[in-house]
Amino acid sequence: MSRKISMKQAINEALDLEMRRDPTVIVMGEDIVGGTGAQGEDDAWGGVLGVTKGLYAKHGDRLMDTPLSESAYIGAAVGAAACGLRPVAELMFLDFMGVCFDQIFNQAAKFRYMFGGKAETPVVIRGMVGAGFRAAAQHSQMLTPLFTHIPGLKVVCPSNAYDAKGLLIQSIRDNDPVIFCEHKNLYGLECEVPAESYAIPFGEANVLRDGDDVTIVSYGLTVHRAMEAAAALAKDGTEAEVIDLRTLSPIDWDTIVESVERTGRLVVVDEAHPRCNLATDIAAFVGQNAFGALKAGIQMVTAPHTPVPFAPSLEDLYVPSADSIASAVKRTLSPKGASPRIAA
């Protein structure tokens, strides 16, 4: 049975189903239940934006509120994972990674390799990413490139409710540490989602739209901007193929390269800052592995090399727009050499 639910509900459902299936799954985070130690209602928050609401009634103490001590509880989730549990730790805004990054990139990410293949750390660290919420510089970042840079971490960033559910279930079952990035501006977006459990394998991109003229690759919120751009371009007769990466590490190189070999043109869209991000990563890979197929220079559309501004009037300019993606596509269609140099 399938019905329309939001990405927020889909994440809640994935947690619920996995907690039912596997008693080693525990969920922890700040105010993910809410009201702990207070005299009012139980489950008073269910997470800052209500993502885990209602799970406490179903699973009781397997949902644990934490003190405001990210280093300690994220590290504890990592340690518990290395000792047989499957913790899902919520880090509210992934910007708070700054507080506890050691436990993730020096500890969780390295156990497997550093201990000669003898450790498994099946921890999921999930939280919000992305701009557009008027939440300013420390609550809006798209830090995905930092995570993909680290060997040993897997990185997931769904663009819709269906993928969020299947990818979170896979993340919990996966035996490596996973950073699960939830774009806060997609929480309310609904789509058809089966009620039953299903897992979406890592490293399989989703081709959202077929087209032979140009390939647009993105992930998260900007997938929707890419689809808008593709719809606008179709009116002028340009057919764009739109690829939603879904997982950034591992990444589905085959689908990207196969598409570019057919279209000969590539636009990569990333909400992260322009230096050393997913867009540059993919552009370099395609440049190295499919150079012969390219009919035009690769175009990258990213956020600027600035922190996220608070003022709505500036933040709206910050996130890549459908217009900027469509313009990038047009640059790939114009004669070689015509594209302006884009400053980073």
Binding site: E30, D31, G34, G35, T36, G37, A38, Q39, G40, E41, A44, W45, V48, D65, P67, L68, S69, E70, S71, A72, D95, F96, G98, V99, F133, R134, A135, A136, A137, Q138, H139, P304, H305, T306, P307, P309, F310, A311, P312, S313, L314, L317, Y318
Partner: protein
């Protein structure tokens, strides 16, 4: 006129009242305008907690530094940040304290020694150790005050800073603003020790707990430990027990509170009422004098709001400006 039984003269008392009233009025205006949908982003109000910021900041000058929290408007106002610039910042305008780039959670005015509200819990504590270190190196008798909530007092950054400040004998005061909750989680559950004084002792510094709704209690305790820090006596911790009148952020339904809790604290623990009654009862200040201040403050906030709404937006160029000093 009766003899003044307070540790401050009448002018100073009027100033304290004006500061507290300005904070209250500022926050209540935001509460109303947020509900109307006028204000973007997250807004955490300081209403109910005014006595703490005010009682402490009365001892500071522009050379003393403070590091604030996500609930920073009260600290800003008490430290002398311009109310018009604050309001414009919250509205994302180019006339804002941070030219619209920071918003409510990042208001700063370095010229006033205000090193920023902060979106990261506990982040202010190491920074203020640095400010105090700079003052110590310069030998200018400046002190650093960091504010931290009961929740954020569990951050490693905060606990490490207590130790660092003690080891380096820095002129720092760690102010724990204990309003009983971190978002929806009770302080009693989340903080493992019974008293912050014990925590301070564990880090080798004095700790003091005061009723943070009593302006005079805060003022006197803060005065003593700030003087001590200024004179090279080292860091100390001040816990202010207080109450927050609105939700964690605007939009919080506060179902974690006991029934009647909010009404009760508003009725019995309103720091502005407590201060007013005391000075009036003592015959030092007349009710009409306070009401005159109320009217002036009301006009000030009205004007700041009107000006903020009419102020220009940042221009597209501002998006790329000020990432570096030079690049």
């Amino acid at each position: 006129m009766a003899q003044n039984p307070f540790p401050l003269g009448k002018d100073e008392l009027l100033k304290a009242y004006r500061t507290m009233r300005t904070i209250r009025e500022f926050e209540e205006r935001l509460h109303v305008d947020f509900a109307k949908g006028d204000i973007p982003g997250f807004v955490h109000l300081y209403a109910g907690e005014e006595a703490c910021a005010t009682g402490i900041m009365m001892h500071l000058n522009d050379n003393d530094r403070i590091a604030s929290t996500h609930r920073g408007h009260g600290h800003c106002i008490a430290k002398g940040v311009d109310v018009h610039a604050m309001m414009a910042e919250i509205y994302g305008r180019s006339t804002g304290a941070c030219r619209g780039k920071g918003g409510s959670m990042h208001i700063a005015d370095l010229s006033k020694g205000m090193m920023g509200a902060n979106g990261i819990l506990g982040a202010g504590a190491p920074l203020i150790c640095g400010a105090a270190l700079a003052a110590k190196v310069r030998g200018d008798r400046g002190v650093g005050i960091t504010f931290v909530g009961d929740g954020a007092s569990n951050q490693g950054t905060f606990l490490e800073s207590l130790n660092l400040a003690a080891v380096w004998n820095l002129p720092v005061v760690f102010v724990v603003e204990n309003n009983g909750y971190a978002e929806s989680t009770a302080m009693e559950w989340a903080v493992s020790c019974d008293s912050y004084v014990d925590r301070a002792t564990g880090f080798g510094m004095p700790g003091v707990t005061v009723d943070g709704t009593d302006f005079f209690a805060v003022y006197e305790a803060a005065g003593e430990i700030i003087r001590r820090a200024r004179d090279g006596g080292g860091p100390a911790l001040l816990e202010c027990n207080m109450v927050r009148f609105y939700g964690h952020f605007e939009g919080d339904a506060q179902t974690y509170r006991a029934k009647g809790e909010l009404e009760a604290i508003r009725a019995s623990r309103d720091c502005l009422t407590i201060l007013s009654e005391r000075v009036i009862e003592a015959g030092v200040i007349g009710r009409d004098e306070l009401q005159a201040i109320d009217r002036e403050v009301n006009a000030l906030i009205e004007d700041a709001t009107r000006a903020a709404k009419a102020a220009p937006l940042p221009t597209p160029d501002d998006l790329l400006r000020d990432v570096y000093v030079a690049y």
